[in-house]
Symmetry: C2
Subunit: 246 residues, 2 copies
Amino acid sequence: MTRFALTIEFDGGPFFGLQRQKDGPSVQQSLEEAIHGVTGEEVRVHAAGRTDAGVHALGMRVHADIAKEIAPFRLMEAINAHLRPDPIVVIACETVDDDWHARFSCVERSYLYRILNRRARPTLDRGRVWHVATELDAAAMHEAAQSLVGRHDFTTFRSVHCQSDSPVKTLDRLDVERHGNEVHIHAAARSFLHHQVRSMVGCLSLVGKGQWTAQDLRHALEARDRQALGLNAPPEGLYFVEAAYP
Amino acid sequence: MTRFALTIEFDGGPFFGLQRQKDGPSVQQSLEEAIHGVTGEEVRVHAAGRTDAGVHALGMRVHADIAKEIAPFRLMEAINAHLRPDPIVVIACETVDDDWHARFSCVERSYLYRILNRRARPTLDRGRVWHVATELDAAAMHEAAQSLVGRHDFTTFRSVHCQSDSPVKTLDRLDVERHGNEVHIHAAARSFLHHQVRSMVGCLSLVGKGQWTAQDLRHALEARDRQALGLNAPPEGLYFVEAAYP
């Protein structure tokens, strides 16, 4: 058995999420079937993160144990051929030690959230951005966001379906930048609660519109109560960017 | 009658091109029907350029004469409501003088061509880039491209369906830049021949692969013969970026 680490890019639009679901298509199922097509083996894929339906990935890391002797580049090309026409591809592939784990060895996950901030709805980027027609003050959003950075109880920003043992997480980075008519939010942490990035982005959008002050955001965090959440941003603007390992 | 100048963004994928066609959907038809929906008027839309089927626009300029009294912002919002769900939007709207013409007053058109240069096919950007799996030498492409800049007979890079009076055009800019795993080609000129940008990009890709030298590209230009064309790049990587006016 050789453990392979794969870097995956996918359009989350057609999937019910990364993790295998009983009732619809998933990235995990497509990947496992593609690997089966290449190797004939029943392989279980483990991913660095569990993205929701509609959430995209630019560089998700996964691993799988494969008995067939095959070079990483050949494996990548063969899996990509089997993944057609699903919007999932392997963009990098390497062998790793048997104790390397895509999920448990990961020390930092980073996400990007893209907001299209203009009057007109998206055309080329539909399904790729959250459209917010009201002008957002990105500088105010960035300033307010800094109160969320650090170690906090993020219960307010946590889905009721979250399976994490503790609502306490350490947020390493939450930066808001304007690029023309797009507002980008960069978030990084060792791990996130379910819906945490989308919930933080939703509340930051209220700050950007002037409906919330920076203090309102701090109070929402301190409330440690899902009822204090202002807004959960939709999945289509969210991208899993990178998983980092020691 | 008031003449309105509109800036348009569209995904060219579902259309047979910008110009009205007998046998399929066009951007012009969608726009004229949307304006009819707002004003009740039979309006003719004139555009800065005629893009082919599958070619996108980030900032196409068009004009239309409208009798109804309406403020530019309201007109933009109303047309956008009527354009749904077509992937076309008006991103700017202003009134102009009666002698201003989207096509004839335009002094420079600029295009962007996006190549995704990696082994794996595109997922999030499918239909938005040309996928070239072989590694391209963008610096060699840029250097070779400079022989096309200036006033030349571009017959080699001209479609047999081109309706231009003369094959002589002045190319102001042809820059090739690498951005990670994308290669971007920026082209600007007062006007282009039909298929000129795609034909130049196709030949530059041969230079990038090392199949053509810079001298081969110069010889192709000097041949003034469509038979000397190396390759016509596909439409999905091409974007009409901007039309400039005095």
